[in-house]
């Protein structure tokens, strides 16, 4: 019985935390938000050298084939540092989907992800939330329609798209007929886009992909929950540090119960949520029959914890605020959680 992290996992977190603190400090994040897409390719390649981008990629394809818990720990570090990077889309969601599909054609697409040469965006919003009449269809070998809030698709080498009829398609980022428009959100650290398809010829189409789609959504939700968790963790640390330094009325403000109880309430929510997150991530590999439910609960629960705007913490606050609705908002996720148990 050991409900906790291994030494390797703790080391992974420490290494990544100090790497991000040095290489992508918040000043660098501030610069990146002015780019067309804040994801920095140089950081992506450095993450590949650290073995991060291919953490879920099979060893035979150049990855390290670790567990979703390891990937979730990476996301936690990325959320903690508010790092703009396509790990959620390329390193988790696309990787899980292509691994699940399992064909040689699918797995080959993961090699450049593991090596850090390529970024794979994902467009799957319409599988759980259709707005603005969006949706992508395949007719006579060509893709038409549009996809909303696609992750990390701006400047991506390839995009993995959910297509009507339980299919997944892969298109090149520069494919003729594909128009990618950044949809700017309040979160300057994450890149979301609209994709419009006008007779785009896909590079590959995978039929009967419903399980791959479900698994990639579950993995994505757990990973995003971890990102939100990391952002919350950072905000609490900054708030507590500030409360312990700032003086008003001749006292450190952290000595006022009004302030210290707020801090206590935040940490009292945060620490148990860490346990839920570990279990959800662990269940994805070890207890797959539980993982869809745990994915819904961990993301909805962590989104609800993402609380108030504290001082200059807007990067984290906005990252959480946008993550709250990517891959399904709390109400949608809880409704799915109820449905998964036959309660709705």
């Amino acid at each position: 019985m050991d409900f906790g992290l291994s030494d390797d996992q703790r080391m992974l977190q420490e290494t990544l935390r100090s790497f991000l603190a040095e290489q992508v400090p918040i000043g660098r994040v501030r610069e990146l938000r002015n780019e067309t897409c804040p994801n920095d390719r140089a950081v992506w390649r450095q993450l590949a050298e650290l073995g991060v981008t291919g953490i879920l990629v099979p060893e035979a394809r150049g990855g390290s084939e670790l567990s979703l818990l390891d990937a979730a720990l990476v996301c936690q570090c990325l959320g903690y540092a508010a790092t703009p990077t396509p790990f959620l889309s390329s390193g988790v969601m696309a990787t899980v989907a292509l691994r699940e599909l399992g064909s040689d054609e699918a797995l080959a697409l993961l090699e450049p992800v593991a090596s850090g040469e390529q970024v794979l965006g994902v467009a799957v919003t319409e599988t759980f939330s259709v707005r603005e009449d969006a949706g992508v269809t395949l007719e006579s070998g060509a893709l038409s329609g549009k996809a909303m809030m696609a992750l990390d698709a701006v400047g991506a080498d390839r995009v993995l798209i959910a297509v009507t009829g339980d299919r997944l398609a892969v298109v090149r980022g520069d494919a003729p007929g594909l128009e990618v428009t950044r949809l700017t959100t309040t979160d300057a650290t994450r890149c979301t886009a609209e994709l419009v398809f006008d007779g785009v010829e896909p590079e590959a189409v995978f039929e009967h992909a419903s399980r791959a789609i479900t698994r990639m959504l579950d993995a994505g939700r757990i990973a995003l929950a971890a990102d939100v968790f990391g952002a919350c963790e950072s905000m609490i640390e900054q708030a507590v540090t500030y409360a312990g330094e700032r003086r008003q009325f001749d006292r450190v403000i952290g000595s006022f119960q009004a302030v210290k109880h707020m801090c206590a309430e935040m940490i009292a929510e945060l620490e148990p949520a860490r346990s839920l997150l570990w279990y959800a991530a662990h269940s994805f590999d070890a207890l797959p029959e539980e993982s869809a439910l745990m994915a819904c609960h961990s993301l909805a629960h962590n989104s609800e914890i993402g609380w108030t705007d504290e001082q200059n913490l807007h990067f984290w606050f906005k990252r959480i605020g946008v993550a709250r609705h990517l891959l399904g908002g709390p109400e949608l996720l809880r409704e799915r959680a109820a449905a998964l148990q036959g309660l709705a």
């Binding site: 019985m1 050991d2 409900f3 906790g4 992290l5 291994s6 818990l69 507590v240 409360a243 312990g244 006292r251 450190v252 952290g254 000595s255 006022f256 119960q257 302030v259 210290k260 109880h261 801090c263 206590a264 309430e265 940490i267 009292a268 929510e269 620490e271 148990p272 949520a273 860490r274 346990s275 839920l276 570990w278 279990y279 662990h282 070890a286 745990m294 609960h297 961990s298 909805a300 629960h301 609800e304 109400e331 809880r334 409704e335 959680a337 109820a338 309660l343 709705a344």
Partner: protein, 398 residues
């Protein structure tokens, strides 16, 4: 991450299951205070013989004498809960006094009290809170002076659970009025039938439901032998903290089980011919609570792992009581809301659901938000010991 207990522990689990299957009819059906003492002692004795009660208490003091093993304890609790079999004596004697005596008592005190307490032959209540000393317990005023070879106790205790049904009380009194407040307290054992002790029941919001009774205990020139002092004079605060530590350990919740019960209730009830489960609003509230219950369940597993490895959980270990108590109350609140008008029924009225379980659970869990350290005191502890924020400055003396 390894969630298996391993073969040795699974064998142990089977032993517990076999014991329960074979002996569950031997358990008393009434609560500990309504059961005949001999019957209760037989059941507790049977459990001690097999090592399922007082497992780690040394044999010489009436226990089973096994080495402490946290997983065995967890498995026993899981299996007894699953079988719906109570240990028989969920009282403050075994859970709080016994560990305290084992740590601080004299050899004679241990020999005299531990065994009979474990077998339910001697029932204890805890005399801590006073009308003017709740969260600030160390300000307590009940006094004990020395007269010959006896303490003479005067004062008043309040919120004393089960005092009306107890044989003995472990009580905190001020023996050194001139010492600083924490250093002037002693921990004394007294028989409840000593002349000068008067018990008055307190009626609480839960009325007669549940088996917990609250009382006030008055002490007027109560004479207790000096040998009933535990530890040394003036060490009572330190000793009481050992006891409170044991109390917080006993305040774990079974929110997952209560939540399952709530789901069954929601599947049974109808309003206007529609199940509350068909209402997205109720369903959303249920799913929020389920996420919290799952969170606290897995948090418990994480805390267990820390204990097994001897690692300090840090601030994560300080938040459990705060979160669990509020969660239990919120689960009961949804249950009552789901029943609508009929959720208000009480006192075994016609149409009352589950014999008033949910109202009783609601009131009881509300009480636990206060008892054993209020939520506000918990937040002080979390922010000061867990997050390192400074204490509130003391007001300047006028």
């Amino acid at each position: 991450m390894d969630l298996e207990y391993g073969e040795r522990y699974e064998d142990f689990r089977h032993e517990v299951r076999d014991f329960l299957a074979k002996h569950k009819d031997a358990r008393p059906t009434a609560g500990p205070y309504e059961t005949k003492r001999e019957e209760l002692a037989r059941w507790l004795g049977l459990q001690i013989d097999h090592g399922y009660w007082a497992r780690t208490i040394p044999k010489e003091y009436g226990g089973y004498g096994a080495a402490p093993d946290l997983l065995e304890t967890v498995i026993m609790d899981e299996e007894f809960n699953r079988a719906g079999v109570t240990r028989g004596l969920n009282a403050q004697g075994p859970s709080m006094l016994v560990p305290t005596l084992l740590e601080h008592g004299t050899e004679e005190q241990k020999k005299r009290w531990v065994g009979p307490t474990l077998r339910g032959e001697v029932m204890w209540c805890q005399g801590y809170s006073e009308p003017g000393s709740g969260s600030d317990l160390a300000s307590l005023q009940t006094s004990a002076t020395i007269d010959g070879d006896e303490f003479v106790i005067n004062g008043q205790k309040i919120w004393t659970s089960s005092a009306d049904m107890s044989d003995m009380i472990f009580v905190l009194v001020r023996t050194e009025p001139d010492a600083k407040k924490h250093a002037g307290i002693s921990y004394i054992l007294a028989s409840m039938d000593t002349p000068g002790i008067e018990v008055q029941p307190l009626r609480t919001m839960s009325g007669d439901i549940g088996d917990n009774s609250f009382n006030q205990v008055f002490f007027k020139d109560v004479r207790v032998p000096l040998g009933n002092l535990v530890g040394r004079r003036g060490e009572g605060w330190k000793i009481a903290n050992t006891t409170l530590k044991h109390e917080r350990n006993t305040l774990n919740s079974n929110a997952e089980g209560t939540l399952m019960r709530l789901i069954r209730l929601m599947q049974r009830e109808t309003c206007n011919g529609v199940s509350p489960m068909a209402s997205p609003v109720y369903r959303d509230r249920l799913m929020r609570l389920q996420a919290r219950a799952l969170t606290m369940k897995h948090h418990g597993m994480r805390m267990l792992t820390c204990s097994l490895k001897g690692e300090s959980p840090g601030v994560a270990g300080l938040v459990t009581k705060l979160q669990n108590c509020q969660l239990n109350f919120d689960i009961a609140s949804l249950a009552i809301d789901v029943m609508g008008e009929l959720g208000a029924l009480y006192d075994h009225t016609k149409y009352e659901r589950e014999r008033g379980y949910w109202q009783a659970h609601s009131f009881f869990s509300l009480g636990l938000i206060i008892g054993g350290g209020t939520a506000q005191i918990q937040k002080n502890i979390i922010s000061e010991r867990g997050l390192g924020l400074p204490r509130e400055p003391k007001p300047a003396k006028a």
